[in-house]
């Protein structure tokens, strides 16, 4: 089967319609290993790619004031059981630009695949970026994924980062995002991961509220079964007057799974305020009983609760 066909099949596993890559008004980039299989841009969006020995280097630029109407789809994948893929991406939104990027990271047959992503994101004054990253790793647990991103948000800018890995096995995940937020900016970070078997999950999300009235929320949702492990570190720094940050971490554990949450809250300006809440435990008994009183079996009830928190 051609590589692009394998990737498109995997894309559908994540719930996405493969026809989005055929639409004339939708930009996309499809990369298998270190080969660019398909690329398309739209007015106002510049997309430059260069193949490297192990992956690609890409530059994505949205020009000043341009609002990209349709989501830009980025498909990164390895369709073979073994492989290495390294993605270097510079993403820049100029002043008052806006775009939604949907990154689909697809490793459907991975037995020994390593995917590294190093992204630098620069969001200009008044610009808005909605970045959604959805992973599909297949059933074997042989994927090592190391996404790293460094985000800078200009004044009045907005960044929403959404990471989802809830289909297939995780394997080993080491996710790290750090954000520096200027005045009046808004940052929303969400990560949802479903771990099972011997999956190992490490998540580190950090937001530095450097400008006056910058606001942020970090929301992490993890569900673990079997012998999966997760370590979640959420860091928020309030460094300016009127800065407001909140951290909300929930981890559900069952079987022999082990989870930990490390909320780090630093405030260096007396007019800043940062709050956090973390809950780790098994499925809530009252929730279970309520669903069972509606006729669901214990397994069905757990399924509803877990799907809910990972949504």
């Amino acid at each position: 089967m051609p590589a692009i066909e394998s990737l498109l099949n995997a894309l559908q596993e994540t719930g996405e319609d493969r026809s989005v890559l055929e639409a004339s008004d939708t930009a996309h980039l499809v990369v298998e290993g270190n080969t660019v299989l398909s690329a398309k841009t739209v007015p106002g969006l510049e997309l430059v790619t260069q193949e490297t020995a192990t992956g690609i280097a890409a530059t994505v630029l949205v020009r000043e004031g341009v609002r990209i109407e349709r989501p830009v789809h980025l498909c990164f994948g390895v369709v073979h059981p073994q492989g290495l893929q390294t993605i270097r991406m510079d993403l820049r939104l100029e002043r008052n630009a806006s775009a939604m990027l949907m990154a689909h990271c697809l490793f459907p047959r991975a037995e020994e695949v390593r995917h590294e992503m190093e992204a630098t994101v620069e969001i200009g004054e008044g610009a808005e970026l909605d970045y959604r990253e959805i992973h599909f790793h297949g059933p074997f647990g042989g994927t090592t994924v190391i996404p790293r991103s460094s985000v800078t948000i200009g004044s009045n800018g907005r960044y929403r980062g959404d990471f989802t890995l809830t289909t297939g096995r995780v394997g080993m995940l080491d996710f790290n995002v750090s954000v520096h937020a200027a005045e009046d900016s808004i940052t929303e970070l969400t990560a949802r991961v479903l771990g099972s078997s011997s999956d190992q999950i490490t998540i580190r999300e950090s937001v530095s509220l450097d400008g006056d009235n910058a606001r942020s929320i970090i929301k992490t949702r993890i569900a673990l079964t079997d012998e999966a492990t997760a370590v979640v570190t959420n860091i928020t720094e309030g460094n300016a007057a009127g800065a407001r940050g909140h951290v909300d971490c929930m981890e559900l554990v069952r079987d022999r799974a082990v989870a930990s949450a490390v909320p780090v809250v630093n405030v260096t300006n007396p007019l800043a305020k940062v709050t956090h809440e973390a809950a780790i435990g098994t499925v809530d008994l009252r929730q279970m009983e309520t669903l069972m009183a509606h006729g669901l079996t214990p397994d069905e009830a757990v399924d509803v609760i877990v799907k809910g928190i990972l949504r």
Partner: protein, 241 residues
């Protein structure tokens, strides 16, 4: 009318204390039966014992539903038989929409109809989540709507009126009347006279025992007197022998 629920000589001990003490109660098919009593007399515990919640298992006695002993059944097995329960403080569910919550099992009653019956506008609520963003009153109404969606044979309603404004009492009554009209029985735990009054019968619980059963007005009068038949005190804390 046939007996749907029979609770025979039920005793429940927790921490060495009798919470339910040799209690007997029966509810007929299609009957609304109010359970009245001061706080801490075991009303919610009795509902939990009938539903089979958590650690609530009868120490002695038996619970029969439609003639079958259900003491050893799990909650979902009792639900499958036709029993359901609305808790006084309903659980909240992140990521679960009201539409999904009202459709957990196939139902002949639409989610729209159920919401309308509890005074909530479907367009406003169907896509909201059953999470902490709902007010206490909204959550209670959605719980009642979910009971309607289930079409149970026996609904255990633990203070369905608490946390709901006085003006909405008529909607609570409408839900209970609707359950009765569908042939369901209701065990109605309440402190409000105007709600209890719609019951066919009422029982007064004191110290884990039912001390009188009869017309709701009579039992409510007895409750207002706060005179316990066992200890004859104004505030009874009778806890068995």
């Amino acid at each position: 009318m046939a007996k749907l629920l029979e609770v025979n000589n039920l005793t429940y001990l927790a921490g060495g204390r009798k919470i339910i003490d040799d209690l007997c109660l029966s509810i007929n098919t299609g009957e609304v039966h109010a359970l009245i009593g001061t706080n801490g007399t075991g009303k919610s515990t009795l509902a939990c014992l009938i539903m089979g919640c958590g650690s609530c298992r009868a120490t002695e006695g038996e619970i029969l539903f439609a003639g079958h002993r259900i003491n050893d059944l799990e909650i979902h097995e009792r639900a499958t038989q036709g029993i359901t329960m609305a808790w006084q403080e309903p659980a909240r569910f992140e990521g679960l929409s009201v539409r999904e919550y009202l459709s957990l099992k196939p139902s002949e009653v639409t989610a729209d109809t159920c919401l309308t019956m509890v005074g909530l506008e479907p367009r406003t609520y169907l896509d909201r989540q059953v999470d902490k963003a709902l007010s206490g009153g909204e959550r209670k109404r959605i719980e009642l709507a979910s009971i309607l969606a289930i079409s149970p044979q026996l609904a255990l309603l633990d203070e369905p009126d608490s946390g709901i404004d006085m003006l909405s009492t008529s909607e609570i009554i409408k839900v209970i009347e609707s359950l009765r009209a569908s042939g369901a029985a209701v065990l109605l735990i309440t402190h409000r006279d105007e709600i209890a009054r719609i019951a066919d019968r009422a029982s007064l619980l004191c110290g884990g025992r039912i001390i009188c059963t009869g017309p709701p007005e009579t039992v409510a009068d007895r409750y207002r007197e706060r005179r316990c038949a066992v200890c004859n005190s104004w505030e009874c804390d009778y806890a068995g022998d």
